[in-house]
Amino acid sequence: MSLIERNGRVVAHEAWGEYHLLGIRAPAIAKIARPGQFLMLQVNSSGFPLLRRPISVHHCEDDRVEVFFKVVGTGTVLLAAKRPGDKIDLIGPLGKGFTIPGQPAAAPVVLVGGGRGIAPLRFLAHELKAKGHLPIIFYGGKTKQDLPLTAYLQPEGFELFLATEDGGLGFHGLITELLEREIPRLKPSRLYVCGPEGMMRRLAQLNQRWSIPAEFSLEAKMGCGFGVCYGCVWLIRHGVAAEWTRICQEGPVFPGEVIIWEAQA
């Protein structure tokens, strides 16, 4: 069930360079949102840009939803300019989130976040922990500026593996290289992945060897976010057939085996 919150209110704003964390008062949405679901935020009131922007639920606390985003263009610039007290119109929670197995396994579960891809994983990690799972978080980026959320994840006591391409923090190299080294040792029972398409593809490739049950959170330009425009499709297997599938409805989270990566431009 999705809701429209006309009177969302920014109650907190934290920024690390291009990365921003907004707390938005939206009680009804906060109550029902699940990890991996997303919101459609109206980034402005002047009608420009035209479309809302899809942003994952980063965290929920009482009557507030939090979003974590990177500034990449017009919409996120406007979003980053929001200050406590500002109003924001949002729709959510939208889409299908990550699945959390009822029975915790002895083996840990691994969460992989690349850059802004970490956004939905903090919420997920907390929920997994609450359900008795052992989440381990892999968090990678180009430089240490791309890993601002370590500031939260560390004190929150999660086991963290960090990687930066310039070696400025943690493992020196790609997050996928670090995973290649660690996964065989950690033998996780599940993988949850969100990040740049290249990173996710590579990981899906590696996982053909590991064949660990894995879920990926996909992205596409979205016209509506609630299933009416058919603009946000990926090619997804449904049994034998493959179909252009609305990730805002049937996703954005999909099990690795149904995603046909090659089909994407």
């Binding site: 069930m1 999705s2 809701l3 429209i4 109206q42 009608g47 420009f48 840009p49 035209l50 479309l51 809302r52 729709i91 596409a220 330009k221 979205m222 016209g223 509506c224 609630f226 299933g227 009416v228 425009c229 058919y230 603009g231 946000c232 499709v233 990926w234 090619l235 179909e243 252009w244 409805q249 089909a263 994407q264 431009a265």
Partner: protein, 304 residues
């Protein structure tokens, strides 16, 4: 209380606001956000005889005050529509209009013949103007002859009113509208989207995989309004205006220019309750000016 009712001759609507095809899914997806009973009517996504995969992504590009789409009419086809969608829509009294598509004249007729067997449908909108199917946006609505042929064959088989949806990508939309009227169309709706493209200068590629797509949204409103004005002064059948309507004032521009009803498209994507807001704003406009019937406004533009 203003009388918002809208008489299309072949069909009476509670108000002149219609949800436009392709921006309202199959109606069902909108149930979380609004009560379909509040609308004048709603038009479901374009349907072909068979299911269609649609175009590969990226399918969307945002432009200044506009949206370009190249969905390519992905759809379930009439059989699945009748089997799994139509039953869920029958509970609504709001007129359901099916947007009918076809590769050939025969396919349009076949879709209509198939749907004519079912009840719970109020009318058909012939989508002869989708720019996303053939190369260079070719479609029947680009020529009066092709328009006449598709419309008359559809008109012959249909037991229901037929609305012909026109393309703005033409030199002389009046001639094409007249061809639709002559072919027996019960109404025309205009406009569909403008053939357009965007380039990503970083990748040096077109943003859309399909290269071209259809432009909609506020950007096109002034051109759509001009066409509605031109067409409604020449046709006897009702004209339904469409293109960039985001507010009640936008809708009223089309009504003053001669439209009996309006279709709201892209606005539904930005705000799933846009149609409700637009109805409210039309009512407020009339109320504050002591206009008792919105129908009084149709074509009442003052020219001197």
């Amino acid at each position: 209380m203003t009388d918002l009712s809208c008489d299309l001759g072949f069909m009476k609507l509670a108000n002149p606001v219609i949800a436009a095809s392709g921006t309202f899914g199959y109606g069902i997806e909108m149930e979380p956000f609004l009560n379909l009973e509040a609308l004048g009517a709603y038009i479901v996504k374009g349907l072909y005889l068979r299911p269609r995969p649609g175009n590969p992504p990226p399918r969307l590009a945002e432009t200044p005050a506009g949206l370009i789409n190249s969905i390519g009419l992905q759809g379930v086809g009439v059989e699945a529509f009748v089997a799994s969608v139509l039953p869920r829509l029958r509970k609504y009294r709001t007129p359901l209009i099916v947007n009918v598509c076809g590769e050939t004249e025969e396919e349009y007729a076949a879709v209509i013949e198939f749907l004519d067997k079912e009840d719970g449908i109020a009318a058909y909108e012939l989508n002869i103007s989708c720019p996303n199917i053939k190369k260079n946006g070719l479609c029947p609505a680009l020529s009066p002859e092709a328009t006449f042929k598709v419309v008359s064959s559809a008109r012959k088989v249909s037991r229901r009113p037929v609305i012909t949806k026109l393309s703005p990508n033409v030199t002389d939309i009046v001639t094409i509208a007249l061809a639709a009227e002559e072919a027996g169309s019960d109404a025309v709706s205009l406009v569909n989207t403008f053939l357009a493209m965007v380039v990503d200068v970083d990748s040096r590629r077109p943003v859309l995989r399909n290269i071209f797509g259809g432009l909609s949204g506020p950007a096109i409103k002034p051109i759509a309004l001009r066409m509605v004005f031109q067409v409604s002064r020449r046709l006897k059948i009702p004209v339904i205006g469409c293109g960039g309507i985001m507010t009640g004032r936008d809708a009223l521009e089309f009504i003053l220019a001669g439209a009996r009803a309006v279709e709201v498209g892209t606005a539904n994507l930005v705000d799933p309750q846009a149609t409700l807001r637009i109805i409210k704003e039309i009512e407020e406009y009339c109320h504050s000016r002591g206009i008792e019937r919105v129908s009084e406004l149709i074509g009442s533009l003052i020219l001197d």
